[in-house]
């Protein structure tokens, strides 16, 4: 089992004084140059002979890129325990509960949409950038109109992704269509990017006969096997260990694809987060875990969710490479996800991305977030830290986007969405037989009986049942 020790270069300085655990080899690199993903990670593995239990080829030991210096007080001798050799010290030192400096956030664009000098990032072509922007704008319009439709009583429920458009679209743009996505519920942009039509979104929200989910779940519980997007389920974090299994399947099939799964800050408190990350790491499964740290889990602020430095620091606890990225910076998200995906597939390992952002909208249409947070806090993020505006500025500065394009995309999107809603609203619900199908692959006897019984009842007293269902 390879033991990885990696430190962010910014933490090193304080560590050198505070930590004196021999065996932890500290990297010293004070260069101000921003490091791209691989070079940022520097580690020395303490490899072991008889305790290794790799089920596949050993993961290659990463060479140390920078000088390693041991502290003067370290004893070079090592102890042998299950799990490998570990150096010992006679000085009793506790690892502090947190580093004095937080893990920095990778970003490429500043707030005005200008590339920060010397940024490491993967260039995005005009075509890709424009496509990304169009989708971000469409997502904004979609969120707005569906939210209003719920307020008007036309759909029962809705969840918006306002404020997280960059995470949604840029991550989707960085993936291949063969990558299997297991969402939480605030990632409809990924589905939009992959080609799920506005009409299909509307059909699911109205639960009509064209809904691929056959009207069984609440709105926003989209799913599409054609788009490799697993159906959304309300329980939080259940998708994480499933993603590990999906990744393992792709690994065994030797596919050039990985599993990608999303979770919010709140979801990382669930047991399934621990299960998912641990399994992915032990099974060496190609999974990209993307945590949208948007500051709020309904009304629970992150200060009430965990005491760690966010989620990125938890990756190492599982032996998972991790990065913190500015989730409102579309270019940074694109680069980080694209790199993480390559790592996951090439090295057959999980990667954790913490995307920092803010949930501008309410948790859902059942929530009024002004009840637990300041209205001006929301306003600040909406206006000054808006990911869509920021990316648009960059695209405009490159001469790839104009005011005309802007009004065109918005009015087109609005028109299409309204049409989709109007159509979806009119269509019938799925036939009543769909209540009983798909519980199992084949309807068992008890369901056949219940279906017959219900049909009789509905035929006898149709006034007790809503219209629009073919019996």
């Amino acid at each position: 089992m390879a033991i990885w020790f990696s430190r962010s270069r910014n933490i090193v300085f304080s560590l050198r004084h505070n930590l004196n655990l021999s065996g932890i080899l500290i990297k010293r690199d004070y260069s101000p140059r921003p490091a791209f993903t691989n070079s940022q990670l520097s580690s020395k593995s303490v490899c072991l002979d008889s305790f290794t239990s790799l089920r596949h080829e050993s993961t290659a030991v990463e060479k140390q890129l920078d000088l390693v210096q041991q502290s003067d007080e370290e004893d070079p001798q090592e102890l042998n325990f299950p799990g490998g050799k570990v150096g010992y010290t006679s000085e009793m030192k506790f690892i502090p509960e947190s580093s004095s400096l937080r893990v920095p956030c990778y970003r490429v664009l500043d707030e005005d949409g200008r590339i920060i000098s010397n940024s490491d990032y993967i260039p995005v072509s005009e075509k890709l950038a424009v496509r990304m922007y169009e989708h971000m704008a469409t997502l904004q319009v979609m969120d707005h109109i569906f939210y209003e439709a719920q307020r008007q009583g036309r759909i029962s429920f809705f969840i918006t992704a306002v404020g997280e458009e960059a995470i949604n679209i840029a991550s989707a743009a960085a993936l291949s269509p063969d990558d299997v996505v297991l969402p939480q519920y605030r990632e409809p942009g990924v589905l939009l990017w992959r080609g799920f039509t506005l009409q299909e979104f509307a059909n699911q929200c109205f639960g009509n006969k064209a809904d691929r989910g056959k009207g069984r779940q609440m709105p926003v519980h989209y799913g599409s096997n054609r788009h490799n997007f697993f159906t959304v389920s309300s329980p939080i974090a259940t998708q994480l260990p499933q993603a590990a299994g999906v990744g393992y399947s792709l690994k065994m099939e030797k596919k050039n694809a990985c599993a990608v799964t999303f979770i919010g800050d709140g979801g990382t408190s669930e047991g399934d987060f621990h299960a998912g990350l641990n399994f992915a790491a032990v099974m060496e499964a190609p999974v990209v875990f993307i945590c949208r740290n948007n500051g709020w889990a309904i009304s629970t602020h992150i200060s009430e969710q965990f005491r760690s430095d966010g989620i990125v620091v938890k990756g190492q606890a599982y032996g998972i490479r991790s990065i913190r990225v500015d989730g409102n910076d579309a270019l940074a998200v694109y680069s980080a996800v694209r790199s993480a995906r390559e790592m996951a597939v090439k090295e057959q390992r999980p990667v954790l991305i913490e995307a920092m952002t803010y949930r501008v909208g309410h948790h859902s249409t059942s929530d009024d977030s002004t009840k637990y947070r300041a209205a001006d806090e929301i306003q600040y993020w909406k206006m000054s830290r808006n990911p869509v505006n920021r990316f648009r500025k960059w695209v405009e500065d490159n001469g790839w986007w104009s005011e005309e394009d802007e009004s065109k995309i918005r009015s087109n999107a609005r028109k299409q969405i309204l049409q989709a809603i109007q159509a979806a609203e009119k269509w019938d619900k799925p036939p009543l037989t769909e209540l009983f199908s798909d519980v199992y692959d084949v309807k068992p006897k008890n369901l056949e009986e219940q279906e017959l019984g219900l049909k009789e009842l509905v035929e006898k007293q149709p006034q007790d049942y809503p219209p629009g269902f073919q019996i």
């Binding site: 089920r55 596949h56 299997v180 297991l182 809904d211 691929r212 989910g213 056959k214 069984r216 779940q217 519980h221 799913g223 599409s224 096997n225 697993f230 159906t231 389920s233 329980p235 259940t238 994480l240 260990p241 499933q242 993603a243 590990a244 299994g245 999906v246 990744g247 393992y248 399947s249 792709l250 065994m252 599993a259 047991g271 399934d272 621990h274 299960a275 998912g276 641990n278 399994f279 032990v282 099974m283 199908s437 798909d438 519980v439 199992y440 692959d441 068992p444 006897k445 008890n446």
Partner: protein
Amino acid sequence: MASLLGRFCRKLVVPGSAHGSRMISTTACDSEAVKSLNLYSAINQALHIALETDPRSYVFGEDVGFGGVFRCTTGLAERFGKNRVFNTPLCEQGIVGFGIGLAAMGNRAVVEIQFADYIYPAFDQIVNEAAKFRYRSGNQFNCGGLTIRAPYGAVGHGGHYHSQSPEAFFCHVPGIKVVIPRSPREAKGLLLSSIRDPNPVVFFEPKWLYRQAVEEVPEHDYMIPLSQAEVIREGNDITLVGWGAQLTVMEQACLDAEKVLDFIFQLKDNWFKVSNMGLELIMQEGISCELIDLKTLLPWDKETVEASVKKTGRLLISHEAPVTGGFGAEISATILERCFLKLEAPVSRVCGLDTPFPLVFEPFYMPTKNKASSSSSLSSPLKKKRHYLIMGLHVWCRYWMQSSPLLITSHSICFFR
């Protein structure tokens, strides 16, 4: 007389046989190779076959690599490789969640939970995810390739956390199947069916029988259909329904019920001289029990139980799990709905007590054969028969003493039908 003889002859059973008269055979014909195996070996064989026949199948869980704590997975890792048979971290929700992910990608994931007592962390994944995976996606996705195996039930010294029978929790979940085998031969066939069934299955293995039960098990690949109950012992007076290890207990209760009554022996010595043949016919008139192995608890075969109860008029259900809210309640309610007018007595449930499974008190907690035998369903037909038998014998001996022997037997003894 002929009807009496006919009914009597069918009941002749070699005492002490493990499984009684097997009226319905669903397994191999005599020419196929069989081997004497215990339960864990039969399960092991099934797993070997499952992995052999589907290259996209996996077996994993805690400690399965070296063979498992009950040896059910012996030899699998060596034969099929650590890629397909492996240990997992100690995390049931992870094990099942990982299995769901694998199954959703079209693989067969045969997952082991080390003891059914530890299945609860995975309950969310089973109920909210596996059971609803197909339905909620509109059949775009499914995790039918998932099979969850777990040893369940009393083992003599297991206490709270190595003896539980949690089947009732799972029987309340539309979308999964719950299967419980009673013996090695059944286990192999049912496990192969469960693995190959396109729905997620929870497969409880009676750990008491892992070593205790030995049976001739065909060596080839065979499957026993799910959702089909089996009448493993035919009878006319009462229907007994159970599953898993409890069936061996119930079979003993059936044998006891069908035995000679001490009371009749007293009659023989004191009352009259009768022909041996005649008296033996009367003596062996015990209670004819029909024993049904449900095998699949969800979805369960109501028709077989219904047909049996309509014939016998009485039902006794027995399970180790606590009586309140146990699966016996579902069977009882359904049978009452369907067979009310044919029932001659209330449905009886002989089950575990409503306590956590105790250690030193286990012999008192368990639904033993004596508890079954003394339950109202089994003893009340007995009382009724005893009454009519005495009447019949009395009439018979009066005739015999007064005049030439008359063959009354069938008339009086059949009176209670």
